[in-house]
């Protein structure tokens, strides 16, 4: 008995240095946010293995980064969270010498992301999208009438309208910053306001529709919209398209649509960044540079239906994606999109408390 054990131990010890030499990169990205073969291609080309982990909310990324020693080499927070995370020193500056593919980036997008990351020193956009409304076409028109206007936040924020949808299920993102921005915008207030009166007004609006909301969750609605469990969700553009594709594939006759409501919607940027304590900095740059390659960026956008921040990728993107006004909004719709700035920690405290009140009634 003793000999095999000794051999096992010896081989284990021998294996450890070999493992340490193996190249890895630890990536923490949003769920359903990458083409199926991207990681395999990266590993095949570079020999770097990828540990790929996913999240569904900015809050949890921030919690892990603040805890420190997250072990991640590449994370993909949204701009309005990234902004304050950079200020808190959670990220290291990008070594642009190792990212030649930065030249492929869309200058317009780079200009917009510079609002979160001055000079684009710490992060580079992966995808961008909008936070709007996804709905089950048949279920919603049946309840609101065939000629009802569905490109409006009234669907969610008008108590009378949403009450008609309560029986088929309404879901809202568990993302207070984005929900309050939408509510403020609907009320005709500044979505980036940090005034307490505005916060109170938004809370009042949310409480007035709260009885008709079945749950608050940031990824559950993808499945539920697709299989008819709910009929309206405030959600991320590409996630609603996943639900749409799943519904079409299931062939149960469920048709899902996404709308950027006429009142306007949040335009966000999900950005690659390298944590200050990342263990594999070189591999992180290699991964980001790979993701910025036009063919890879286009393949990802064609798969997940989010707009790419990569300008050179545009000509490789499928026409049905490129010409979809819900993914690449035309100028008149784009004019109504608003950016979200980082909130101060003081305001965040008020915001999260208000959010708990909305969610739990306490």
């Amino acid at each position: 008995m003793r000999t095999p054990l000794a051999i096992a131990l010896a081989s284990l010890l021998a294996a450890t240095p070999a493992l340490a030499q193996d190249q890895v990169v630890n990536v923490y990205n949003w769920s359903d946010y990458i083409a199926e073969d991207t990681i395999a291609k990266f590993t095949a080309e570079t020999g770097i293995a990828v540990n790929y982990d996913v999240f569904d909310s900015n809050e949890i990324v921030e919690a892990k980064l603040l805890a420190g020693n997250s072990g991640y080499d590449v994370v993909v927070p949204s701009g309005f969270f990234l902004e304050r995370q950079i200020a808190a020193g959670l990220f290291q500056p990008l070594d642009k010498g190792k990212l030649p593919n930065l030249s492929n980036m869309d200058p317009q997008i780079m200009e917009e992301t510079a609002a979160h990351d001055p000079g684009n020193e710490h992060a580079v956009d992966y995808m961008w999208g909008t936070t709007g409304l996804g709905y089950n076409v048949a279920a919603v028109t049946e309840r609101l009438g065939a000629d009802a206007d569905l490109a409006t936040w009234d669907l969610l924020f008008d108590p009378e309208t949403v009450s008609k949808l309560a029986d088929c299920g309404v879901a809202v993102l568990d993302a207070p910053a984005e929900v309050y921005a939408a509510a403020l915008n609907y009320l005709g207030l500044d979505p980036n306001s940090e005034s307490e009166e505005d916060l109170a007004a938004a809370e009042e609006l949310l409480l007035s529709v709260r009885p008709h909301i079945r749950y608050f969750h940031s990824s559950q609605y993808i499945d539920d919209l697709g299989n008819g469990e709910i009929c309206l969700a405030m959600g991320y553009s590409g996630d609603v398209f996943i639900a749409q594709a799943a519904a079409a594939e299931a062939g149960q006759g469920v048709e899902i649509a996404y709308t950027i409501p006429a009142e306007g919607a949040l335009k966000w940027f999900d950005m690659f960044a390298i944590p200050a304590d990342a263990p594999n900095v070189d591999n992180a740059h290699a991964f980001i540079n790979f993701m910025l390659r036009p063919d890879i960026a286009a393949a990802n956008t064609n798969y997940v239906y989010y707009a790419s921040g990569n300008g050179a990728a545009l000509e490789l993107i499928d026409d049905e994606v490129k010409n979809d006004p819900a993914i690449y909004p035309p100028a008149e719709v784009a004019a109504n999109l608003y950016p979200l700035n980082a909130h101060t920690p003081e305001y965040d405290e008020l915001l999260t408390r208000s959010w708990t009140r909305v969610k739990t009634g306490q």
Partner: protein, 317 residues
């Protein structure tokens, strides 16, 4: 026999004698070592982390890494200790926390009562069954543990959702779908289902030891079956009832997975509040205070139940 013995290597005398001698050299006997190991385990993995959590609960949130202030600050050669009680004060001044504790206790208590009502007859039946059926039934009680708890909760969601198993069945009779998911009802189903084995097993162990002669004696003395149950079976199974209830009630108070997967946004439970404070609000100090307070909330009923159980055992003597 003797030839076999000859083949074996000679038994080595006291393989640990060297270690034992060197330990004795620093004043440690084998007995001390036996006590020392679990004590060390408890200190390293329970008391130290608890002290860390308690320490964090006395800090305040800041945006940075770590996301809380230092308790000790050194400035101009003086070390200053700053303890903030604001997190604990907030637990009392903000109705959210008190209500979450009370609601958790309420949900746990109701779920425990339901588990007892369902579990008692099952345990009684299993205890009265003869082998080999008894072992098979016991096996069936334990069987769910062979799959992940998380998967079983997801499976329950599959039963209760709008187009799930139950509603599809009701649909066959033209009954419109019931909304079961994201309600308190679903949380009760989840907790009772998950913790039922913890109720059945201690009940079974007390009921199986019940001497049938006592029941016969009771019948001989003219007692009706329900009378026998109330004055013989029930009192004698009290230790099992208390142990089973504790095993269900205590983990149910702090339950997080079941209310977050099956419950609605209004299903207020302390486990969810704690998760939100930690992950959504990144407020470590307050979530630490919530955790410490939860420990107190849970320890009090444990002590009361322990005392009740001791009293039962005492009376038995």
């Amino acid at each position: 026999m003797s030839t076999l013995d000859a083949d074996l290597p000679p038994p080595r005398q006291r393989p640990w004698s060297l270690i034992e001698r060197s330990l004795a050299g620093i004043g440690l006997s084998g007995r001390a070592l036996v006590i020392f190991a679990p004590a060390l385990w408890l200190i390293v993995f329970f008391l130290v982390p608890l002290a860390v959590v308690f320490g964090i609960s006395l800090a305040v949130k800041q945006f940075g890494r770590p996301p809380y202030t230092d308790l000790l600050t050194a400035e101009d050669g003086t070390v200053q200790l700053t303890l903030h009680l604001s997190n604990y004060i907030r637990l009392f001044t903000d109705a959210l926390y008190v209500n979450a504790y009370l609601n958790s206790i309420k949900i746990a208590a109701i779920a425990t009562a339901i588990a007892l009502l369902i579990g008692y007859p099952m345990a009684y039946f299993i205890a009265r069954t003869q082998d080999p059926w008894r072992n098979i039934l016991l096996m069936l009680v334990i069987l769910p543990f062979w799959t992940s708890f998380l998967l079983r909760v997801y499976a329950l969601a599959g039963f209760m959702r709008g187009n799930g198993v139950i509603n599809n069945f009701l649909g066959l009779f033209g009954i419109p779908p019931l909304v079961m998911m994201q309600t308190d009802f679903a949380v009760y189903v989840g907790i009772v289902y998950t913790y039922l084995p913890f109720m059945i097993l201690p009940l079974y162990t007390t009921l199986v030891k019940l001497d049938p002669a006592l029941l016969e004696a009771s019948a001989d003395l003219g007692a009706k079956p329900w009378r026998t149950f109330l004055s013989v079976t029930l009192p004698l199974s009290m230790p099992g009832i208390i142990a089973g209830s504790m095993l269900v009630f205590i983990p149910a108070i702090g339950e997080f997975v079941i209310p977050s997967l099956l419950g609605g946004p209004g299903t207020l439970m302390i486990g969810r509040v704690l998760w939100d404070e930690f992950f959504a609000n990144t407020n470590w100090p307050r979530s630490a205070a919530v955790a410490i307070a939860m420990l107190v909330v849970v320890v009090v009923p444990i002590m009361l139940m322990q005392r009740a159980q001791d009293a039962v055992v005492e009376r038995r003597k």
